[in-house]
């Protein structure tokens, strides 16, 4: 059941003799497994549709943006968010899988925070949704803990000044981290809804800084 070890394009075998089925053709394997699980009444069409629609429609970075906008607008909420992220985020209705415990780290002119998961791809789903491909891929997971300043500059065009400390948060437990970006200049008159529109997914991961940009630049 194993693949071809003599394939000149893959001198190192990418098959796995210990795996129960051949390791190629993931599309067909997914269908095969799905058809068996449905047959065994362990899976239903509507459960699959429900899960997909939850993450396509309801769970995403717009939730985190709402949290950030509230923190920018309400100093008491900001304090609560940094003290007990789980409770303050829960107060806006966001919790659940991959985010039962969430801690929020605030960027300041002196400190820049960035999140990663070097061992797999842990990410605060209830506030940011499912992680983007680059966050889950070996280059980001390997580099950002060792050379964060260079990684942010080369991959994200973000120059963090030498005198600004970079704090990297490696999500090794079930506690999830998100970054509270700085509020951009020139946003004093904006409502929470308008502020939330300025908050990007990347700024809550920490690969973008909002504080040094004005509202016009962000728009």
């Amino acid at each position: 059941m194993t693949g071809d070890h003599d394939d000149p394009d893959h001198p190192v075998p990418t098959d796995d003799p210990d795996h129960p089925v051949p390791t190629d053709d993931p599309e067909a394997r997914a269908r095969a497994l799905q058809s068996l699980l449905v047959e065994k009444e362990k899976l239903s069409t509507d459960a699959v549709d429900e899960v997909v629609s939850l993450y396509e429609e309801e769970v995403g970075p717009m939730n985190g943006a709402e949290v950030v906008a509230r923190a920018w607008s309400d100093p008491d909420y900001r304090e609560w968010l940094l003290e007990d992220g789980t409770a303050a985020i829960g107060d806006l209705g966001y919790t659940g899988v991959q985010g039962v415990d969430i801690e929020v780290k605030a960027n300041t002119p002196e400190t820049h925070n960035v999140i990663v998961c070097t061992l797999c791809s842990c990410y605060p789903w209830p506030v940011l949704g499912l992680p983007p491909t680059w966050y889950k891929s070996p280059p980001y997971r390997s580099k950002v803990v060792k050379r964060p300043r260079r990684t942010l500059r080369e991959a994200f065009d973000l120059d963090v000044p030498e005198d600004t400390e970079i704090g990297v948060w490696d999500s090794s437990s079930e506690i999830r981290y998100m970054v509270l970006p700085q509020r951009p200049d020139g946003t004093e008159g904006l409502s929470e809804t308008e502020l939330a529109e300025l908050v990007t997914r990347d700024s809550m991961i920490g690969v973008e800084r909002l504080g040094e940009q004005s509202a016009e630049e962000l728009a």
Partner: protein, 223 residues
Amino acid sequence: MDGVHDLGGTDGTGRVSHTPTEPVFHDGFEQRVFAMVMVTMARREYTMDEFRHAIERMAPAWYLDSSYYEHWLAAMETLLVEHGVVDDDELYERLEQVRAGEATVPDRTDPDAAGMMRAVVESGGGTYRGPGEPAFETGETVRVRNMHPEGHTRCPAYVRRAEGTVQEVHGTHVLPDARAHQEGESPEPLYSVRFDGEALWGPDAEANTAVSVDLWESYLRSP
């Protein structure tokens, strides 16, 4: 286990391909695999820790050569076969039928199961198990043990033997090293430990950088 999944600090992994936005799922394969894992985990066919460890058990070259959702599919196949939910011959046979166009995915409706999925997604599954009696306190200097277990661990290799400072005590949490092997929850105090860049990377560290990692008590000792 010491494996290629433990990527922190590895050089030569190529460029980060940043995309400002991308679809939640790129295709039907990603939707299918994501939903199947969510449902089977919600049905407690396996735990998150067993799932992560099953991904780590993929052959190294295969792991590096395959996508995130291929990792998920591989781990799900491994665990559902190991736990007897599906039989490996049966899975192989069905795969051949799918490839030959002789099998399709049937429709099945189960509103209760769909409702349960929403409830599970919204409630999650926390690992906090009370305050416990932590051996270390905030501000204390600790050293990460030199450890190389064959089984699952959440102690990344790049922090082992390094000295850091406890910056937060999280209370006790389920120990992944135990639950990944069906050895119970074995909750232990969990700490946020902060390492200066230089403590991890020596003279090759970038100035004014630090990494914080959550580490269980059995990973740590006094310096």
